[in-house]
Symmetry: C3
Subunit: 457 residues, 3 copies
């Protein structure tokens, strides 16, 4: 009985949640009315940007995490599962927080809601990167549930109450996801998967991982620009991200060869620090006015990220037994905090006149706008700082709590290979839990042979 | 002489066909006249959607079929060959069926014609998935020729005479391609490639296959929406597909772990059933009005597809010796029929007023439109049913005939490895038939050495 | 001291250049002023096309070169490094040549400047394809510096002084990059990497390479159309490239099986000659008026390219010891020259009236346009020929000079494995120089153990 519950746990929980989703979609969600012209139905520029983000989430993040030999397939698959789960859940949650839902009891969804839903996936996938190889699929599903719940609520508070500018969601996605995961890892899951996995990253796995890195690299400008309007804010978000990524890539190679005694390039740095520029520029990507500021942000973030990989992560492992499978802290965590700090500085130092009317899109509560706000550069900078603190605190508390919940013995757990263990559960999260095509064919073949034997005798 | 013909058969047939294409293009095809404003020359929203479909056809389908160890390279390459062949052929065929050609003896091509040509590729590639590993390149080329010929004519009849709504072409592409291939496989080609291929799908091949799965997953909304207009129909096609795929993915993981005794996830399911939602919503993607309908369609299609993999396919193999290399029946066949059935139901039950003026884009022969049609919800539903039957019948008859033609001994055949065979033809369809770069370098090296020897002596 | 300089050489040079970039960006570069409406800020159609090109450069070219077993990771990584370097450098160089910079001492950048910068990357990556496996990262960086410098200046001269039509940049990118690389290879670097690398291209590497090929294949129409306007010129560029690639692919398979004694398909041809159509149509992609012309161009270019692989490259290797690792001469070199010749023919033979007002976008110096030009079809054809000669001559001279510079012993060199060599420098360009994740984890583990030992004793 107990063992059946263990084996069917995933199916039960996933089935339950999907059923609830159907009921909620049926009761509260509608498409935009084609007869009503008050809302932009579809924009030629929004859907291509959505598709760029879509590729990042489903292919980019998936393959980025495929570098562990024994977890390659499971990384890509669990990535797909969690994303498909979160896009439904996040759409529902965000809808419940809209004005339209408060007023009419219904809310409508469209391309912009799809883009927001995908960004919630990113937060969960970043957290997954910290814990990769140490949770079972059922634990990952629960993690996605709790994290998305908290993330959407916190984001709503930071965006719509604190009116913080976080254009590329470096705070609400990158910083939140990273520290949520690190806090969850601190509670339990104290294992180094790289050591367990003797033949860890091998040649081809590293190439698969590069597919992920490069897709994220290529589409990062779209990620930071997707929800921006009007045109000049979107244009700046694209250009700033582009320049920051270019300079952070050159700098990554430079610093990577510096920190190695033999001057070699470290693949970990190439696969993650090259992306740090996009994270660090994220929060203020729509606001940065001078190209060279973006270039400098890229350089600084890459230095920070490589130093994190080389010196900070090993220290965290030794001192706090805090293992971070994909080095998320150095790619999303610290560059995310840098993004928050930069967004304070840019709000404070730039001349607000430079933005023209776009000012009220970037900082909606600035004095003189439609919301009758009262912000100037000092108070906006203060609120940017409050936003960063709120994100950090909620992510860490949420991560600690979720980590505790996931440790409850009722959920399937990854057994420690050094302890006696049940056959089924061992490596439950690794590729052994995924039935390969060839093995499936073998089993089918054996089944058929047994049946034929039966016919003969 | 005979053996030369066998070796050069592919070159002769391909050369002949390409020559005919050139002549036909020269005589009948023109570009849109830039001085004539009557036709939309280029739309900012069409080309990005075309590129999404383009990626699906050439990269998505190619890598989806790359999971067999010995056929990995050949799957991707033959995919490229057939697609490049079909886009030219389908453009010509469709042009010959246009009103403009009937009136002027010339027809013009543009972005929409490119999108339609790519969808014809999809039908051929789905059929290829059934027969993968059991046909030689020359047989695949002939298959593509016959199938495209029939497919374009049938599609023309179903779309322009029966006025059936098949927005994502689930009937004319997915259902047609699947049953055409299954019928062709029934005639001959009774072999299980998975068993022949001892080291079948291995770790990395499964990851390559996931590249294909994920690209198809990501761009399926574009496939179902590419030829839709106006904006609200395209918007619904995108959103419905998106939601159906999300729910079908979560359901696939759920059911996959249910049908396995140990609760494992089956990679075959993950690589194909996650896509079933996009196929099943396809025919009516522009018509479904409520988000939760799309979510339910996704759930049902995934259940159907996983059950197909787990119980129906093995039975077909044992009872009819019907082998389906890529499990096409469960991904495109049954979900395609489901799409047809759903398109009947949606035509019947939805209030036509809900669509506003878009009604005549979705059901062009509805009473009151420009075509002076006489349809109401009953008669449109009847025609949707007739469309499904026409597609199924023509696909099966066409597949059987093509299967017979391909069995003619004059074409290069894949020899049975258990029988005595000529050196050349064995594994003629596998990667052995593709000269790898390294082997090529070796042969060049040996050639050079022999030449040098010659110089010396 | 000397050895430290050798180990830190890359970091010093890269750091220096990135610092200079920051200073130049700070002093001379600005974004478009959002308050100024005189320039198109952002266009819905430009950014998606940019993203297609972006994917080609960073993922397409990278994986195309990943077929060598020992250089797979380094090919993808150095591709990333050089591209990130060149996009900054090319943006600056092009800016210094603008009218705006001459007049105001400042220049502004936007999406079109990003597209141009990416095309400069393509030239460098093509050159890298010739020399792959024979240069160290530091040499590649210097190569990128000198080649970009020359390429941007020559392109400026050919485009803005000679007013040559080179829409897909087949002359300024493909031809220039190929012959620059071949000239550099002629000076030194006389090694055949394929022979050195015993286990050269293997199964999976060929599949990775196909990712590159297919991405380039899919997005080639975008590459040739990205900088075209108005709509009808862009439309023609897309359609012509599409048709030329389809026919060149079918022809590649045909000729490839012809030139092999056993009728096999050669993977080298599939991975490169299928793309030749896009290169050969490139220069005149916006000008070709009849679809069948594009189809014929595709056929001819594929024949040329396969013959190049089969007979010309081996002869170049034997006679001139000119090794071309990726067969760039057959993909970019000869088809590039063909593109130049075709652009002469199309300028001469087509009726200029057919283009309507677009004529002055295609040939800006034609008589009657805004520039008060004096060209007719004869003189335009002459200038197209002059453009081809200028590109070829400057590429070859520049390549020879750069080859000489790179041979200077002060730079890190790839040692000949047959000669005695220092530990560090051997295979300095291969994957050995890239510290893999697993090896990194091992080193970290050993470090930790040593520290613990220290604590104990």
């Amino acid at each position: 009985m107990w063992s059946v519950l263990h084996r069917r746990q995933f199916a039960i929980i996933a089935g339950l949640m999907q059923t609830v989703f159907i009921l909620l979609f049926a009761k509260y969600v509608k498409y935009i009315d084609p007869l009503d012209d008050s809302r932009r139905v579809y924009s030629g520029t929004d859907y291509p940007l959505f598709q760029d983000v879509h590729l990042m989430i489903f292919v980019g993040f998936g393959f980025l995490m495929a570098f562990l030999k024994r977890y390659g397939f499971s990384a890509v698959s669990v990535n797909l599962l969690l994303s498909a789960f979160v896009i439904q859940f996040a759409m529902l949650l965000r809808g419940f927080l809209t004005v339209a839902f408060n007023e009419t009891g219904l809310f409508s969804i469209g391309i912009p809601e799809m883009i927001s839903a995908e960004s919630s996936c990113a937060a969960v996938l970043i957290t997954m990167g910290v814990l990769l190889g140490r949770l079972t699929p059922v634990q990952f599903l629960l993690l996605a549930f709790f994290e998305t719940l908290l993330n959407v609520v916190v984001e709503h508070f930071v965006f719509n109450y604190l009116h913080v500018n976080d254009s590329g969601r470096s705070l609400s996605v990158h910083t939140f996801g990273a520290y949520f995961g690190l806090a969850a890892a601190l509670v339990g899951h104290k294992k180094n998967v790289m050591e367990m996995d003797e033949h860890g990253g091998i040649h081809h796995s590293d190439l698969f991982s590069m597919i992920g890195t490069l897709l994220l690299w290529v589409f990062f400008p779209s990620f930071n620009a997707a929800i921006q309007e009007p045109e000049d804010a979107r244009h700046r978000a694209i250009m700033n991200t582009y320049l920051a990524m270019a300079s952070s890539t050159v700098t990554t190679f430079m610093i990577s060869s510096c920190v190695d005694d033999l001057g070699r390039f470290n693949m970990i740095h190439i696969q993650s620090s090259t992306l740090a520029g996009g994270v660090a520029i994220g929060s203020a990507a729509n606001a940065v006015l001078y190209p060279y500021h973006a270039v400098i942000v890229g350089v600084v973030s890459a230095i920070l990220s490589v130093i994190g990989h080389a010196w900070i992560s090993p220290r965290l492992e030794r001192t706090f037994h805090l293992f971070d499978t994909c080095g998320v802290h150095n790619l999303h965590g610290m560059p995310g905090i840098l993004a928050g700090l930069l967004s304070i500085g840019f709000a404070y130092f730039y001349e607000p006149e430079s933005y023209g009317k776009t000012l009220y899109h970037i900082y909606p509560y600035w004095v003189g706008g439609e919301l009758n706000g009262d912000r100037d550069n000092v108070s906006q900078a203060q609120y940017q700082a409050i936003g960063l603190v709120v994100i950090l605190v909620t992510a860490i508390i949420g991560g600690l709590l979720t980590g505790c919940i996931l440790k409850i013995k009722v959920w399937n757990q990854v057994d420690d290979p050094d302890f006696p263990h049940g056959e089924m559960n061992y490596y439950a999260q690794s590729d052994v839990n995924f039935l390969s095509k060839y093995k499936h064919a073998q089993e089918q073949q054996r089944l058929r042979e047994r049946e034929q034997m039966h016919e003969i005798y």
